[in-house]
Each structure stands twice: as structure tokens, then as C-alpha cells.
Symmetry: D2
Subunit: 352 residues, 4 copies
């Protein structure tokens, strides 16, 4: 089944496995005449790439994106943008030990059941390496939505959570390896991740995202609601287990009289429990949501599991993996958000 495309109007189609020749994609539907800032795209890719700090995987990918089409003399042409990222550090030998083994909480077992034939090296197509292509596309989407700001950050690592009294300073997010908007919490989280890594273990976390300066009218009821598409986009990211927006799971225990966002006469609202979206359509207020990431499944410690022949075996992760996926997931959350909003933005134009 053709299931490797995302979006209707701005459509990303991707290919590639973690340890194949390359990964890449085609971004179709970019309007013509946009002067693309290619450095900004590469910069987002660098924020996602392995090896950028001591608390992420030490796999060494240069992750340079090569564009093939759809840009002429610096401007987009309205035609599909093909792009490719070469896999330069694909040490396939690291993965020989898992050829016939099903790693717990990976997709090894389900891919094998569904497809039979499977590229087991580094998780093949199910690897989060795929998200590099999304970051390229999302960085273009951001440039379609020039004035909209996407800010994702680490809200929690395990039980270490930003508290309501903690100050939040977006300017420090990119200045610490955890990407937390509070310097003190960032240090705690970093130390915690290091401790977890030392144990050969992993830990989950929560990313928050704030989208500001959002145009009104994005999202199409009934089945293309903006928050439903954001939810799908987030759930598509590797290791994500949950999503909520606005008041979210906390809104459950509020009364309607507390939860309702009263209007100012200009149509803005005094509170924003709605998270910037009402009836599936953006109302111009900030969009904010949370994304829950599970702990990475690959452990640097011994685990019991089974192999293809239904035998119990013992295995230990040998590749280079992240002890906590959240810091590198930040640009991915932004990218997928930007793809969703740009799609809705282009769709909305047909009404006018």
C-alpha cells in the first residue's frame, strides 16, 4: 500500500532506509516564487543530526541535503522539490547481531510479519533516521509560512518536568543540549540523561510546542481538522505515545465555566484553553500542544528476546543510540507542525 506520502496540498513523499545508499524525498506543492534560504534548511537538519552533543547518539552522519529539482535561480518553481541525504556512516556490521533477532519494542517483529523481506540494518526504514527528510521538508514549509513561529522544547525528561513556577525563556532553548527553556532545569535534565546512559538504560520525555502568529482559518472540518492533523503528525514521529493540545488531559477535570475562553471584542480570547483551535479551525491565538515520547527501546544492557525461529536469545544493543530521544526530536516536532500548517494554509486559499 502506498503509505509514504504526507499531506494533501503540500505533499511529502519519502524513501530510504537507515543503512541504504541514501534517504530523501519529494516535496510537492510548494508555491512558485519563494526565495528559499537553503542555509536555514541545513541548520534545522544540523539541529537534528547525531553526534551534536554528549547526550545523543554518536553515530556520525554529516547529513547534508542535496536538492535536485524545483528550484531555479534561487526561486521555487511550483514544481516538485526532490532531495537526498546520503548515508555516510552506515556501519552495517554493527547490526549483524540482530539480523534474525526481534528487538523488544522495535518494529522488527511486526515488519517481518507484515512484509517478510526486511532490511534489518539499523532498523531499516523504521529507523528515526527517516525524520531527517521530514526536517528538510518542514524547513521549507516554515519558509512558506514566513511569519509563523514554531518553537518546540523539552518540557520533561522522565519525572523531571518544568513546573508552573519555572521561568520559560525561548532564547535559551538552543543554548543547552537538552533544549529546555529553563537553564537550571536543563542542567538537571542533562545530568539525569547522562546518569541513565551510564546505566545502559533510556528514558522518555515530553516535548511542548508553541506556534505563534498563526493565520486564522487554517483547518478544514470535518475530517481535516487542524488539531487532528497535528495529532496524526505527532503520532507519526518515532517513539511518540501521546498528544494533547490546549487544556489537553488536564482539561478533563475542569468545569465548562472555568474552561470556556471568553472573548475580547476583537475576537481574541482572554484565556486559551482551546489551544488556538476551535471547531478544527485556527482562531489566530497561539497553538500549543504536548507530545509524549517513550523511552528509546534499544538498551546498552542485556535483554532476553526471541529470534525468527521462535527461540529465546539474549541480546545487547551495540549500535550508537540516544539515551533520550527528546532533544533531537525538537526539530522534528517543529517540522511536522510546519508541514501540517502549510498544508492547511494552501488549502485555505481555495476559499478566497
Amino acid at each position: 500500500m502506498a503509505s509514504n506520502s504526507f499531506g494533501n496540498f503540500l505533499k511529502l513523499t519519502t524513501f530510504g532506509e537507515s543503512h541504504g545508499v541514501s534517504i530523501g524525498g519529494i516535496l510537492d506543492g510548494v508555491p512558485p516564487g519563494i526565495q528559499l534560504d537553503l542555509e536555514k534548511i541545513q541548520k534545522d537538519l544540523d539541529r537534528r543530526k547525531p553526534g551534536q552533543s554528549a547526550i545523543v547518539t554518536q553515530r556520525k552522519e554529516s547529513d547534508i541535503v542535496h536538492f535536485k529539482s524545483g528550484i531555479f535561480e534561487g526561486l521555487t518553481t511550483g514544481l516538485p522539490i526532490g532531495f537526498e541525504i546520503h548515508n555516510t556512516d552506515n556501519k552495517s556490521k554493527d547490526y549483524g547481531h540482530i539480523k534474525d533477532v526481534y528487538r523488544p519494542n522495535h518494529s522488527d517483529y511486526t515488519y517481518d510479519q507484515k512484509y517478510g523481506q526486511r532490511d534489518y540494518r539499523g532498523g531499516g526504514r523504521s529507523s528515526a533516521r527517516e525524520t531527517a527528510s521530514w526536517v528538510v521538508a518542514g524547513a521549507i514549509a516554515k519558509q512558506i509560512l514566513n511569519d509563523v513561529h514554531f518553537t518546540a522544547y523539552t518540557h520533561a525528561v522522565g519525572d523531571l518536568e518544568l513546573q508552573s513556577e519555572d521561568s520559560v525563556d525561548f532564547d535559551v532553548i538552543e543554548k543547552n543540549p537538552v533544549r529546555c527553556p529553563n537553564v537550571m532545569r536543563a542542567i538537571e535534565m542533562e545530568d539525569y540523561i547522562k546518569k541513565i546512559r551510564k546505566e545502559g538504560d533510556t528514558i522518555g520525555g515530553i516535548v511542548k510546542c508553541v506556534i505563534s502568529n498563526v493565520p486564522k482559518n487554517l483547518g478544514d472540518p470535518i475530517f481535516e481538522k487542524l488539531h487532528a492533523n497535528l495529532g496524526k503528525a505527532m503520532m507519526t514521529i518515532n517513539a511518540v505515545k501521546g498528544f494533547d493540545y490546549g487544556s489537553g488531559f488536564e482539561g478533563v477535570s475542569m468545569k465548562g465555566s472555568e474552561h470556556n475562553d471568553l472573548f475580547n471584542v476583537d475576537g481574541t480570547t482572554k484565556t486559551n484553553h482551546s489551544g488556538g483551535i476551535q471547531g478544527g479551525i485556527s482562531n489566530g491565538m497561539n497553538i500549543n500542544f504536548r507530545v509524549a515520547f517513550k523511552p528509546v527501546a534499544t538498551l546498552m544492557q542485556k535483554q532476553k528476546t526471541i529470534n525468527k525461529n521462535a527461540q529465546e536469545v539474549e541480546m545487547q544493543g551495540k549500535g550508537r543510540h540516544d539515551p533520550c530521544v527528546v532533544p533531537r526530536a525538537i526539530p522534528v516536532v517543529e517540522a511536522m507542525s510546519a508541514l501540517v500548517l502549510a498544508d492547511a494554509f494552501l488549502q485555505n486559499k481555495s476559499l478566497n
Copy 2:
């Protein structure tokens, strides 16, 4: 923008406003030769309909579904099934007072901004009445997936939450108006909803859903992952603010060594933090997820708001509304789940 279709393979397209002639839809992609049990479909619709108990809206819709096509001599023909539900109790006069008023946390404002022309009666197309059509389609989807069981139930009403020590008995769900699987909690919840209603207020809640006897291999990476489509489906339901599956938001604070589901030699797992889905594909274990509902926005008490002319006005809900949407949302959660799984089931057949 054409945004009123859901699903690729089993595609539901719907029409209709709360207070128009009727609502309905077309379900396309149902395989031929299925002996449809029409009573079961009507029964699911009855579980959703207004007026069924003292704690839901007293709007009186008979909600009888009429089939128009796609069924011949009791069997599906593989061709689209058209259906219609008449709006019999559309007291439009109840809504004259909101014609020019934007009710807080409704879609009045955003629909007006986006579309200009708007059927304000009962929320028009944004009304949860729309979900009756989904229940019809979902009930057919259940019959495509004959052996799969969908059980949704009320897990929380406001702060009243099922505790881990509470017994859960699926057989009592349909025997209490709250649809809670624990009789004692059900009574507490019912009393609480009545109290809330007396205050003219509303309250949120959490629905849990368990899908058992799930075929393996459902879901298509990368962009049609089963849990991502479930997430989108749930976020599409009116008043939903959050979704998580398996370990969900709680999984965030687990270590990988705790979270990993170790295999039995038959491919089943000893725990199920994965929620029955690994890498976007069902592994045959139970699928379980949570859905967070906000408190209903329409209050039976005075609220300040604005009108079309940017004037402050005072309003009070006059229609007949639910103090807590969760009990009636149960069949909707099941229906949307069934649509997602049946779609994935039909898609998966192309591989074999």
C-alpha cells in the same frame, strides 16, 4: 476544500447540519457478500442518541437510519452504501438567540471567519450530531471485522477516575447510564454529573478503549501508522483534547528497561506497554488507548461573550445539551476505531 471524507480504502463521506433536513453519508469500499445485521447498526445508533437517560441531552431524535444503496437481498454488493438520518426534532427557534452571537469555545467564530455564510442553528455542521453518521459507518466496519471486539468505556468524569485497584467488568458498561465498567464508580460519576447539571455547568472526562482479537499486520508505515490514524480519528471527535495509547503519557517517566515488552516465543509479549502496535503495525496484542474530552462548552448559566458586530453581549444556553459528553461518546469512539481498523485491514489485503 473537500475535507468531509475519512479513510482511504473504506471511505466515509458525510453531509448534513444539526438542524437541516437530514444528516447522512456514503460508505464506500465495503467488500461484497457481507450479510449485514441492520439491527446491530441501529442498536449502536441508539446507544449514541439523545434522550436515552437522565444525564444526557433531552433533545428527542428518533435517529432511525435509512439505507439507500449497496445492499441487495441482504448482502453488501461491494458498491457504496448511502444512508440518511432525518432530523425530526430540529427546534430551530431554540437557536434564534445565538444567530449573531459567538458562543465561547464553540466554532461559531471560526466558522464565521472562514466561511462567512453559516448555519447557526444548533451549531450547524459543527454539531456533534454529525457523529451519528460515523456510528452508522462504524457499525458496518465492525461487521467487516467480525471477530474483532471494540470496547470503549468511561474511565473518568472530571476528577473521578477509575483507580488501578478498581475492578473492571465490561459486562456492566451498558447497564449504567455513565457507561463505566465498575458499578460503584458508575454511581459516583452519575451523581456527580447530576450535580454539575444542576449548577448549569458541564464537566470533562476520559474514555478508554480496548480492542481485542486484533489481526496482526494492520497499519502502513510511514504515514499510515495504525496508532497515528487512531489518534487522528479520536482527535476528530467533537470536544476531544488528547489521545495516548499503550503506556501513553505515563510511559514518559519509565526507563527503557521497564518499558520494553519482552517476547514470549510465540511472538506475544509479556507486558503490553506498546498498546498492541509496534512501528505502526498491529502485533496481535490488545490495542488500548485513552481519549480526553473537555467539558461541553454550552452552559445553562449566563456568560459574557461577543456578537458579529464586535459588541459584548450576555447569553445563556437555551437548547438541550449534555452536561458531560462522555457517556454518549462511547459508541462514537468505538465507531471511529472500527473505521480505522477496517481501513487498515482492507489495505493490508493487497500485500497477500
Copy 3:
């Protein structure tokens, strides 16, 4: 497989069988704020309906369209327009004789092979009755494209073809039952159809269509070229065997130096072998194309055929059928053209 939707942006989804309760559809993507002229829609439907003249089928359907949604106080709301046409003259007994028989050149055999379960009455879903729903949707599409004119007409009935020296007067098309733009030819054609009917036989024909006042920039290369979508739309109409546009099959024997349309300085062209479309995009010149219809397969004479049990049987058409499908196909050709152009028109807006 969900295959009963047409269009991306303006999406028509249909249901219904010839002798079921009703046929109908949902037209999704109509922009808001259009003051629909419902009489014009009904008028197009009347041009297609049976029994309108002596040379078409005498089946008596009133073919009144009922709208269910998407229109409020006379204006479109941007939300899906549901509609239904009741089957009032469905004399199912007329079809009992073909229950187990496969009529030659009908879809009886292929539907039975593919679906197993089949509504044999009047061809079921494969009946051209389905096109009534297309005419409704197309009539709305015409109102989206207010200034564009769609004129289809009968160019040939069997060997009787309009000659290059024949005058063509669009004003007489609707004034003769054949819908030919030349009165003399119209009479010849009418006589010929009557003669064919008397023989219990049927005959094919060619429809030409001219679309004038076309906006530039409609059509999206590479795989949504305007003429490719027009071609698909025409090939979708029952009994159509061929399509060409601009110079078409005749262009094959022209040299490039004859065929090239030289430009005027305003971008219009001196000739129009391109048929108003270059590289898949409209250039503002008239779009013109031809559609070839085969003779109707149902004959009022004895034919040998087979039945479900692979036995030779003899059959004779007993229903009420058209001796030549072309006159009633005229509004269908226009409708499908309008759907294609309106879809491209709405898509194009996203670029601006």
C-alpha cells in the same frame, strides 16, 4: 475499494442503483457564499431525463433533485452539499428475465465475476441513471465557474456527421431532440435514429464540446493535466469509447509546421490545434474535444447469450432503452467537463 469519488478539490461522491430507493451524492468543496440557482440545476437534469422526446427511452422518471445540506438561506456554506433523486419508476419486474443472464456488452458478467453479489435490476449501479447525479454536481460546478460556457452537441449519429461546410448554430441545439447545432442535419439524424429504433437496433455517435471564456492556468502538470482529467472524465461516461481534443486523431497526419499555433502578441494563438491547452494548462483559448459513444448494448431484438450457469440462452431487451445515447449524453458531457474545470480552478487558487 473506495472508487466512487471524483475530483480532488471539488469532490463528488455518489451512491445508488438504477432500481433502488434513490440515487444521489455529496458534492464537497463548493466555496461558500455562492447564491445557487436551483432552477438551473433542475433544468440541466431535465435535459438528461428519460421520456423528454420520441427518440429517447420512455422510462418515466420525474428526476427531481432534493438538497439536504450545505446551502443556508440560499447561499452555499462551504460545507458538503448532500442531494438525492428518488427512483420513482423502477419497474423491477421488467428485469426479472435478466436476473441470471449476462447481457452482451453490459457489465453483468464483469460485475458478477468481481463482486459476486449484484443488483441486476436495470443494470444496478452500472446503469447510466448514475449520470443524473453527475449532472446535479456539474450544474453546481458551472455556477462556481460563472463566466465559463460549456456547450456540448451532437456531432455525429452513426455515419451521419456534421461536415466542415455545415453551419453550426449553438442556439438551435436545445431546439431539436437530437441536440445538433444544424437544423437540417438534426432532422436527418432524428429520422435515422427512428429508423434504427424501428429495427430494434441501436447506433453510436459523437459528441463535441466547446468550452469558451476559459480562465488561464487551469490544470496541474505532471499528473493532473487538464486534458488528461477531461479525458478520464469523458471515458468515465457510460458507453464512451474514445476521446480526443484540439487537433486530436486528425493532428496525427499534420506536419509540425502546419500544426503549430502561432502566437499573437497578446498570447492568444492564430489557430487552435492545441485545443486551448498547452502542457496540460489552459491558455485561455477555447477548449474543444470530441467524445465517441458506442451503440447502446440493449437491443429490442433477439440475441444469443449465456447465463450464470454457463448455458446458452436467448434473450430480448424488454426495458425501455435509448436507440442512441448521444442526445441525452449532452448534459452529462457538459457536467463532467464543468466538474473537471471547477476542480482545476479551485486548485489553482492555492498558487495565488
Copy 4:
């Protein structure tokens, strides 16, 4: 607008301009476990490539396809197959003279009107070079449909048409540069093309295609009829002006009693005016159709035209072009046919 994908189930998405870095695509939906014969793919590409004989363009592209993903240890994995063909002979200087000029019957004018920014070199994305990617995808589609045979050939070059009394020998098609199945006619056609080229002119032609050993049940009414999708696929090929299948335009002047294909008791038919498709579904008989190609628009002689500034200018083709597109279009017709049938084949599986 995202319009560079073809197919639902087997979906080809392409990128690239004639004189950019490369062209290529992603073929999504290929079932797993197919042992791809890569040489066969390259061989089809060689049949399409420039410079293969004296009567085609002398542009020298090696046209080697590089696969990036979706194939592991020789077998397809069910995941998207990325591929790329480098543009090695892109002499962009050949095209400087047309930078601001609109060539007659090319898409220069319409692309400029629609997109503003345009890669004018060699026609950019509108170049028939794009079809190389289709041939790659089609060659894979053929291997999905292992037992189905696709045979396209030159039926006419200008007025030189195969006559009904001419013998047709599929074995000689690939043995003459015109790809005509009759050696004598092939020589006539070749001489004629050479004469036309000497004049600096071009000529059109007709391709016929026969698909044999077709599975029953391919095609999905109402809006995914097999012949409608074939028609769209053919109309998508550069320079195509017309399509018909089975009896086609000739069927127009037949009576129903002549046209009807009477059944044999095994469900095959004695004649095949239906062209192997009834009601949009394959019946197992051969599928046959015709495709009309206009003369190539680029002439090696002086022509008057206009430029961007609405000035009359004189131009002469300077690149390397085909005097008749038909011989090189043969593998493209086969490829697009194979994509359509493979898509229908995969879709049909969901019914079983």
C-alpha cells in the same frame, strides 16, 4: 498543488527537470518479496533513450537508473523504491536562445503564466525526459504483473497507416527503428521520417497497444474504471491528443447488433469490440487501444513567435529533437499501461 503523483495503490511520484541535476521518483506500494530483474528495467529505459537510431534525437543521455531503497538482497521489501537518473548531457547553452521566447505549442507560455518562475532549459519539467522515470516505474509494474504482456507498436506515421490487410508480427517490432510490426511498412515509415527531418519538419503518428493475458476483475466502477484510467494515463504522455479503446471512434458508426460481443459459454467473447473491458472492469480478453500523437512542436526551421515582452520574434530550434515522437513513445505507452493495470490489480486484492 501536489500533482506529481500517479496511482492510488501503486503510487509513482516524480521530480526533475530536463536540464537539472537529475530526474527520478519514488514508487510506493510495490508488494514485498518480488525478485526484481534490474536488467529488464534498464532494457526498457534503453528502448526509450535518445540516440538509439538515426531517426530519433541525437541527445546523448546514458540514462542509467540508480536505485536507492526498497530492495534488499535482491527482493522488494514492500517499502518505497527511490530511484534517480542523472542528466549527463544537459547542454544548457543550447537553450539560451529561448530563455525569454515562447515556443509555439510548447508549454513555455502556460508555465510562465501559471508559475512565473520557470526553468526554460530544454522545457524544464515539461520535457518528455520526465517519461524516463515512468518507464522505470512501469518496468517494475510489469514485474508485479508477471504474466501479463504489454505490446505497443507504431500503427501510423502521418498518413502512413498499417492497413487491415497488412500482416502484424510482434517479433519484428523491436527489430526496426520505427517499432512497426510489419517490416515493409516499417521501411516506408522510416524513409518518411527521414524525409520529414530533412525538411526541418516533424510529423505525428498513432501507437497501438495490446495487453494480453489480462486477469479478470481489474478496474473499479464508478470513477476508477480501467479504461478511464488508461485513457488518463495515455493523455498524460507528452504530445498525446487522443485515445480510444476497443471499437473506439470506429464503433460510432456500428449498429448495436454488429457491435455486441456475443459470449462463448466460458465467458470469453466471440468478438472483442469491448476491448477487454466491460463496465470499467477487465473481462479477461485482450485489452487494446490507440493513442494519437501530434507532430513534435520544435522545428528545425524558422518560425515567428513572441517573447515575454509581447514582442514578435523569429526563432529556430537548435536543440536535438525527434522528427517523430512515436518510436520512442512505445515503451512509455507500455509503462503507463503497466502502472494502471498494476494499480487496479493491487486494489482488486482487497475484495478477496
